[in-house]
Symmetry: C2
Subunit: 343 residues, 2 copies
DNA sequence: TTGTATGCGTTATCAT
DNA sequence: ATGATAACGCATACAA
């Protein structure tokens, strides 16, 4: 039961290859009667066009590339799942690559994808302006590129992410309403989203006339290994808790930072939430299994991946991208209050 | 800067297309001198062969399919990461599909992959003998299939997984050594790996002359939604704790069961580890962030994916698979003792 | 409305 | 050692 081709179908039907091809593609030049006959036989023999031949002919790959920092990460694999669904529905393929939070690797990923003839690329940039000139060039001259998750990046294109400001703003307000006014905030160094998320924090403080203390704003290097990051966080916690007025709450602006700080605290003498209330961006299903259960800012990760992929595929089929009207879609993050901020 | 083809190179070099092609493919019929010249020019113009044309010609796709129950799952996305690395190193592509623990979806995934002309497929089966006849047929007649993770499945092929017996055996012994002899065990219903993992538990009990109580062996339906599973676990916990001699420990035989039971317990009146010690298969990075930190049986997920993919690619390039010597590779799971089993 | 012929970019067979 | 040519499976311009 070897693969059946157009030629085989043509022979079975006693027609020419082109008639069969046109019939299957619903060409207007073929009569309904023959179309039906063709489709019926194709169906019966479970005909599936050879994609390599098709793509070679058409000059399209029906494949998009996705560049993500790390795939073995709950938040990002949820995004991938959404992307996967959208791609499947549109009969597109996905080739994904991991930038590992590194600009150079990111560039090689893009080059690889272009060599693979992908029709479009979606990126969650490794840093604020990583490979900007190169990405801009590729986007304008060769292959459309859109941004997801980390959308605070200068490229003029579709951007699908989350309302960063709102998430940290609401979370900070919640902490304040609990009487936790001395809030440390963990930020990703050189991360595009950092500024908006920090703004949410700052605005909430300002609104409540709470002075900003620089010593409570911590920038973490995102290129560190897990162990190095843990060590850095541990050091920071020690420093913070030795201040004359130590913080009584911590806000994590990214999934990684929130979950890591939790591990560091679990390993320390400080109690959550008694000593430090914790809240932050986190998409882990284990939030409620933690003890105390973790209050989180949860992003609609699946939707981000799903919408971004649909947008990219749409863009892929646009003939002329000059003067194209790009959209920025910011979904709402939702705050889920649990025990790490109780009391 | 449009894509450069063999034809372009030939023109630049003033040679024929076939000479250039042979030169790039290190054919013995081309002189070293011209080979060098060809490669140099190809390099300079960053020539990349069109994979669609190549695959069409060769009749291979250089693509493998991976079918996994769920990708947005820490354990499975770690496997995927290993697979991704191996594929990249071998210049292979991956198309992955999710069976969602469902036999029918699994079958449609296989059919899809075959239609995509994948050179081979690796599956973590949805259940004990899901689609066995079909998979056997495909494997023998069409496309090589290997198994990973859930390797307790009758197909004669490569199997890459973990020593299930050893993991639960050691974990159970550890619980017993702590004086926790009344151990409930959570199993996946119809899951191939269940029997070996249960055997580990039973052997450890036997070795310590502890009678087996059927009432402590719980089979959970793997096709349930998260909410339904939580509810089922909640009900089971209530039942267990009302027994005349309630269990003082719980062993989870899969990642899902271990992490879910933890959430259910966190939401209950029962304390971990005071009332119930908890240990089980789990690859989450949050194990140490849990309070109490979770004792886990951790699988080398990355290695499973990496090795399986390499084995599959190897198999893909075998001409005659009759009488092929298939391997079963069982890696060691490692037990990480933490606070959920202290005291 | 249907069929013929060409070419997408490769590899491979056969001449030269 | 190098080149001309056919073929992979498909879509399409053009002819009938």
């Amino acid at each position: 039961m070897t693969k059946i081709t157009l030629k085989d179908l043509a022979k079975i039907l006693g027609m020419s290859i082109s008639t069969v091809s046109k019939g299957l593609n619903d060409s207007y030049e073929i009569s309904e009667a023959t179309k039906n006959k063709i489709k019926q036989v194709a169906e019966k023999h479970n005909y599936q066009p050879n994609l390599f031949a098709k793509n070679l002919k058409i000059g399209k790959s029906n494949t998009i590339g996705i560049i993500i920092p790390f795939m073995a990460n709950p938040f990002q694999s949820q995004i991938l799942e959404g992307a996967h669904k959208a791609a499947l529905e549109n009969k597109y393929h996905i080739v994904f690559m991991q930038s590992r939070e590194n600009d150079e690797i990111e560039k090689s990923c893009i080059q690889f994808l272009i060599n693979q003839n992908v029709d479009g690329i979606m990126i969650s940039p490794a840093s604020q302006s990583s490979n900007y000139q190169y990405i801009k060039h590729v986007h304008e001259k060769t292959t459309p590129i859109i941004l997801f998750d980390r959308v605070d990046y200068p490229l003029d294109t579709h951007k699908i992410g989350v309302n960063s400001f709102e998430g940290t703003y609401q979370a900070t307000k919640h902490l304040i309403s609990l009487g936790r006014k001395n809030i440390a905030v963990l930020c990703g160094k050189n991360l595009g989203i950092t500024s908006e998320r920090l703004n949410g924090y700052l605005s909430a403080l300002k609104e409540h006339h709470i002075p900003v203390k620089e010593e409570l704003i911590i920038y973490c290097d995102y290129e560190l290994t897990k162990e190095e990051l843990d060590l850095e966080l541990k050091t920071e916690i020690l420093r913070l808790m030795k201040l004359k007025t130590p913080p009584n709450a911590v806000l994590g602006t990214t999934d990684t930072l929130t979950t890591r700080i939790l591990g560091v605290l679990a390993d320390s003498v400080y109690q959550v939430p008694q000593d430090l209330a914790v809240i932050g961006f986190a998409n882990t299903e284990l939030a409620q299994s933690l003890n105390p259960s973790l209050s989180t800012i949860k992003q609609p990760a699946f939707d981000i991946g799903y919408i971004a992929t649909n947008k990219l595929i749409e863009l892929t089929n646009v003939k002329n991208r000059n003067d194209y009207d790009y959209e920025t879609i910011l979904l709402q993050a939702t705050i889920q209050l649990r025990n790490s901020t109780k009391l």
